[in-house]
Symmetry: C2
Subunit: 298 residues, 2 copies
């Protein structure tokens, strides 16, 4: 687990530097828009999407000389993630005030600028991914577009909004988690593998891994939302419960939700069962997500 | 001019069919999101972006077998355009009620769904462009990302919002028009030319043409906003003036604005002066934009 933590710290630091360089300077016109974009992206965060992208790239046997491209592709997905957080926080959506222990973008820069900053990050994500992918751009861009679209991330957010306050059926929760989070985690795995030159069977295995990982992550997030304070999770705690959102802990109780986590961890590990040592980080990462809600268990 | 009108009708009809096929079915989950996306895109419109893309593709000597890819690329830019209109109409932005003689997306589907529909169209645009471009995707996606980003379309909208009610300097108006509209028109020309296999000098000429065309278009739009009724322009008339937006007619008067249009038309035609007959539609299109505010003049 120490090896994973070191890997995560390394990738997060490298991603931070690359993201800083991808974003326009804050004193370049239109200054407010550029400052809002930087506010939405910089200042920490675990950079899980670059971490997963590079872990999958490594697991699929990517070559050292292609690693910078894979890192930038992971950062492109992180830019897309930051756009989606910025829009999800808007008053018309989740109406949130805190994110990563700072004001949300619209609280700091106003609603119009937050919408535009999200849009500009969204479009920057695709340009960054295209440049990082070179001759493989047609494939990677199509992957991200599918994962982020109306039957992926954006669709999951729509289902989530429609489902608030409704009866919480576990199948529906899993569908929403799979669309909102699983699709992007799977996309990280697939893009990392594509940039490593992986064949179809490895791509399929990594897709199954990413899919299980996404649900695993979302459940751990829901449990943290219930049990942790604002300083730990960096956003308003208990908010999902108060909004009547569909979550595993609400539907199954804490123990039931933890049991599903165990199943998903097993599924994730099984999917990459015949990968070699180079899949170490992916294996440890599945454990890490389970461990973050049960400190000391791993 | 009749030949241009026939070409425009043809491309608009083909684009409508392709766009219809690119959009998810309205009865596919999440239904409301998919209905909102279709509302934002379908139901007419002049489809100027596919028209310009195909006119530039033809002008740059594109081959018949590559035309379907160029049409789809133009439709991808149209999807991006529709996302931007959907977000521009939001209450926090221009707060508009009518668009193409119908309710704006947030008036019909609510604000959250309009934000998500715009986001989903945005991401669909890039996937569509990548698939249409094949091995040229790295180039075309980077072009669109630059044109739509914080120093292009999104940046122009930010400058526009910041400038409302301020003193109207012509240089600033031109900068905003160039970013908001010119960047995408230029992008249509460049992507059409890239998919036709054009070299650097033709690309540069078509960039200059698109840049002038964008300003030409924006001025004609501003004049229509002042002089036409809602049934003609399909949106709330006189709105820009009421919002104190920076426009050419407001800064220079109607005659002054028309004079700038004449200059831009000459610049556009000059840029493609040494293209042959295959640039006919581009030439006629520059005339068309001037003519639409002076009926019968061409």
């Amino acid at each position: 687990m120490d090896r994973l933590r070191r890997f995560m710290r390394e990738v997060a630091a490298q991603a931070e530097t690359r993201l800083e360089g991808m974003l326009p300077y804050p004193d370049l016109r239109p200054e407010t828009l550029h400052q809002a974009m930087r506010h939405a992206v910089l200042g920490g965060g675990k950079r899980l999407r670059p971490v997963i992208t590079l872990a999958a790239f490594t697991a699929a046997g990517g070559r050292e000389e292609d690693r910078p491209g894979a890192l930038d592709a992971g950062c492109a997905i992180e830019l897309l993630h930051c756009y989606s957080l910025t829009h999800d926080d808007l008053p018309a959506m989740d109406n949130d005030t805190l994110r990563r222990n700072r004001l949300t973008c619209h609280k700091a820069f106003g609603e119009a600028m937050a919408i535009l900053a999200g849009d500009a990050l969204h479009t920057l994500a695709y340009g960054t991914l295209a440049r990082a992918s070179g001759p493989l751009a047609a494939d990677t861009v199509a992957e991200l577009s599918r994962a982020a679209g109306s039957t992926g991330m954006a669709g999951g957010q729509a289902l989530d909004l429609e489902g608030e306050g409704k009866r919480q059926v576990v199948e529906e929760i899993e569908r929403i988690d799979r669309w909102k989070t699983g699709s992007i985690f799977t996309c990280c795995c697939r893009i990392g593998a594509i940039l490593a030159g992986a064949g179809d069977s490895r791509l399929a295995a990594l897709s199954a891994y990413g899919d299980a990982l996404g649900v695993l992550y979302q459940i751990s997030d829901d449990i943290l939302d219930l049990t942790a304070g604002a300083e730990t999770i960096g956003k308003t705690p208990g908010k999902d419960r108060n909004a009547g959102k569909l979550t595993y802990p609400a539907a199954l109780g804490l123990d039931g939700a933890r049991a599903v986590m165990g199943e998903k961890r097993a599924l994730a590990l099984d999917a990459i069962g015949d990968f070699g040592r180079e899949a170490l980080y992916l294996r440890l990462f599945a454990d890490f997500l389970a461990e973050r809600i049960v400190p000391g268990s791993g």
